[in-house]
Each structure stands twice: as structure tokens, then as C-alpha cells.
């Protein structure tokens, strides 16, 4: 698959994010909850965008998706915004390193990112209320869920093209 042939995806992606991100996260993913745990689409997309389109777009989309999540959440604007931005930027920064990772290695990285993300949130939002419970089953479940989805997406992408071809923003970054 040629790099240029995927460029049309970008505006479509932007449009889809604006329209579907919040309904998908708040409604659609509710229907695929397992044991009360649903995946974090913001985290998944931030990781994939950082991996696919580099640090600048990773940062931009991470901040945007996190901002959306913060806006439609009751917490102050900031945590999702910051964490997702960092995930997008960090993944983009380590993109060439991640390029040689197997699917399982990506799954482990996403699992650990998800766990850290949830733990930080736990400390921020529950620690103050004395409700800090440490690593919970739901965190582990969410980590597993997020990593499985990332692995599935990467598998589908890699089935179609090499990861280098997935990096469609190379010339424009």
C-alpha cells in the first residue's frame, strides 16, 4: 500500500473524531463492557496516532482527545488532556524504536501505559477522598482490553501494509 494512497484518511479521520469520538466512548463502548470495564478510546487512539503519525500529531491529537474527554467528564480540564497528550507525544518520540516491536510487545507497552494512566488518575481523584484502592481488577481489565484492541488494530494494519507504510505523515510531519 502506497503512502500517498492513505493520505485521504486524514481529513476523514479528523471529521470522524469530531463527530463520533464522544458518542463512541460514552455510548457504543458501554455495550461492549466486560465485567463493568470498557476500553479507553482516547488512550488507544493517542497511542496509535503517535505511533503512526509521529510526535507532533501524536501530541496534538492526544491533547485534543484528552480535552474532549475532560470536557465531557466532571473532573477539571487537565488530567486526560495531559495524559493523552503525553501518550501521543511519547509514542511518537519513540516511534522508530517501536517500529521493531512485535504485536505482543506493543500489547505489553499499552497495558503498562494504561495501568500507569489509571493509577495516576486514582491518586489524583480518589486519593484525596480516602478511597485509594491501589491497582484494582478494573485497571488490569482495562489495560488488557486496551492492549487487545491496539494489538488487533495493528494486526489489521500490518496485514495490509508494513508499519513503515502506516506512517503516512512522514513527509508532512
Amino acid at each position: 500500500m502506497k503512502t500517498a494512497s492513505l493520505k485521504w484518511l486524514y481529513p476523514l479521520f479528523i471529521f470522524s473524531i469530531f463527530i463520533f469520538f464522544v458518542p463512541t466512548q460514552t455510548l457504543l463502548l458501554e455495550t461492549i463492557k466486560i465485567g463493568g470495564v470498557k476500553p479507553d478510546l482516547g488512550l488507544i487512539l493517542s497511542y496509535l496516532i503517535g505511533l503512526g503519525w509521529g510526535r507532533n500529531r501524536g501530541l496534538f491529537w492526544g491533547l485534543l482527545l484528552g480535552g474532549f474527554q475532560d470536557f465531557f467528564s466532571i473532573g477539571s480540564v487537565g488530567p486526560h488532556f495531559l495524559f493523552k497528550g503525553l501518550i501521543g507525544f511519547g509514542t511518537g518520540l519513540l516511534e522508530t524504536f517501536f517500529l521493531y516491536f512485535s504485536l505482543q510487545a506493543h500489547a505489553i507497552v499499552v497495558f503498562l501505559i494504561s495501568l500507569l494512566h489509571d493509577l495516576l488518575g486514582e491518586v489524583l481523584f480518589r486519593g484525596a477522598n480516602g478511597g485509594l484502592m491501589g491497582v484494582s481488577y478494573s485497571m488490569l481489565g482495562r489495560g488488557f482490553y486496551n492492549s487487545s484492541i491496539v494489538m488487533a488494530v495493528l494486526f489489521l494494519v500490518l496485514k495490509q501494509a508494513r508499519l513503515e507504510d502506516f506512517l503516512i505523515g512522514k513527509g508532512t510531519r
Binding site: 482516547g42 465531557f72 466532571i74 489509571d118 488518575g121 481523584f125 477522598n129 478511597g131
Partner: protein, 270 residues
């Protein structure tokens, strides 16, 4: 005369007749069986050809009817829920605003949901949200046409409560998941597992006497002045589809409550 002659001559050839007739009969019967069998095969074949044409149509019809049954079941469940809400609303002296749940929390850290009514419909921050079987939470954000509700199971939620039997007061705080705890009840408090908790009405979001849940576990830690009390709310928060928002204008106890504000809880079938 002719018949007499025939009759005389017939007797000796009867055995020939029965022999030939028996043989023919056997052949006849065999042929009949074969013909019937072949006919049956053809009949079945054509019948099956007809069936194979009919089968997709019937499958489609079954699918359509299954969909129709599901739709009707859904409508029945909706009508049932709305009827219960309406009954509750009519009996209650409170100003209640019915709303649909249109979305859940975006992240993993809070337990909230979104409703389809907002400032334009009179929904304000801090209004209580209930269902006929108990309280759900409070409005924490209000937009023109929608609002966000914090569930009582969230760790950031705190609601003043009374133990219905002993009248002891405490604060109900969420613990995440589907658990809630009752805080600040002294060690000497005589609460038992199974006691019902009701709202105290002190904080203004809820009237006095709305059911909050039952005490599930009571622990007396050695190193604390207070009891550790865990509750089980009688609501399945993840299955809520319609809720009632309590307007802050009126905070009278519900009609079902007795003189002291004790609620008469409805069967937990939400």
C-alpha cells in the same frame, strides 16, 4: 347350459388360476411398491424443491418476527418503567423532571452519566437525581440541553443519611464499583446488617426519607472511633435508562413517608 358346462370345467383349473393369480399378484404388489416408491421420491423431491424456495422466505420471516418481538419486548419494558416513574411522580409532592440517560462517563476515574435535560428544562447543579426505588446521585454540571449526574457510588459523592430504624445520622460516600459506605457513625451506634438507610434531607438536594440502600456489613475496627459500614444500593446503576431530577424548589417528604420521614421502599425491581 353354457354356464353349467363352464362350471364343470372350471374346477380342475382352479389351481392354475390361483398359481398364476398369486404370481401376478406378487408382481403387481412389487410393481406397485416400486412405483409408489419412485412416485414418493419424486413427490418428495418436488416437495423439497418447493421447501428450499420457501425456506429463505421463512427464515426472513422468522428474523423479521424475532426483531418485532424484541421491539415489542423493549416497548413493553419501557412502558413498564415509565409507568412506575409516572406512578411515583404522581404520588410524590416533589417537583420531578423526568429525563433519559443519554451517555456515560468518558474516562475511568468517575462514575457519571449524562441526561437529556438541562438548564432550559430547569435542571440546576446540585439537584438530586432519583428513581422510584431510591436515589441515584446529584447533578454536577448543567448545560442548556443536557446535564451530568454524579452517581452516589463515585468516591467524590457524599450524601447525608439516616439509619431508618435507629435514626442515627451519617454521610454516605461512594467507594467506586457498586459499593457505598456510611461514614461517621460512632462505635456505639446500634446498627445492624439489613438496616435501611434513607436521606436525611439536611443538604438540600434530596427530601428526607428517600431510600438509599441496605447495610451490608458492619465492622468495628479497634483503632477507630467510627464503624466501618458498607451498603448495597438497591439500584443497578449501570442499567439506568430513565431518571427523575428533584427540583430544589420543594423539599417536602414524599407522600409515602410516615410522620418521621421514613420511606416505604418499593420492591427493588429496577
Amino acid at each position: 347350459m353354457f354356464f353349467v358346462v363352464i362350471g364343470i370345467y372350471k374346477k380342475p383349473i382352479q389351481w392354475v388360476e390361483s398359481l398364476v393369480g398369486g404370481g401376478i399378484y406378487a408382481v403387481q404388489e412389487g410393481t406397485y411398491s416400486v412405483v409408489s416408491g419412485v412416485k414418493g421420491v419424486f413427490t418428495h423431491y418436488f416437495f423439497l424443491v418447493g421447501l428450499s424456495d420457501e425456506n429463505p422466505q421463512l427464515k426472513k420471516e422468522i428474523e423479521r418476527l424475532s426483531g418485532e418481538i424484541n421491539r415489542l419486548k423493549e416497548k413493553e419494558a419501557l412502558a413498564d418503567r415509565l409507568q412506575r416513574m409516572l406512578n411515583f411522580k404522581e404520588r410524590s409532592p416533589l417537583t420531578l423532571i423526568a429525563a433519559n440517560v443519554i451517555g456515560r462517563e468518558t474516562g475511568p476515574w468517575f462514575q457519571t452519566f449524562m441526561i437529556n435535560k438541562g438548564q432550559d428544562e430547569g435542571i440546576l447543579v446540585d439537584m438530586g437525581v432519583i428513581v422510584p426505588t431510591g436515589i441515584v446521585g446529584k447533578v454536577v454540571k448543567s448545560f442548556p440541553h443536557n446535564a451530568q449526574v454524579l452517581l452516589m457510588t463515585d468516591t467524590n459523592s457524599a450524601i447525608a443519611a439516616i439509619v431508618q430504624r435507629t435514626r442515627e445520622e451519617g454521610i454516605v460516600q461512594g467507594m467506586g464499583g457498586n459499593l457505598v459506605r456510611l461514614k461517621y457513625l460512632p462505635r456505639v451506634a446500634e446498627v445492624l446488617e439489613g438496616d435501611i438507610l434513607i436521606t436525611s434531607g439536611l443538604e438540600g438536594s434530596f427530601p428526607k426519607g428517600l431510600p438509599m440502600g441496605r447495610i451490608k456489613k458492619v465492622e468495628k475496627p479497634e483503632d477507630s472511633f467510627f464503624l466501618n459500614i458498607t451498603l448495597t444500593p438497591e439500584i443497578s446503576f449501570s442499567k439506568l435508562e430513565e431518571v427523575l431530577v428533584v427540583s430544589l424548589k420543594e423539599t417536602l417528604p414524599p407522600k409515602d413517608a410516615d410522620a418521621e420521614g421514613n420511606a416505604v421502599p418499593e420492591p427493588p425491581n429496577h
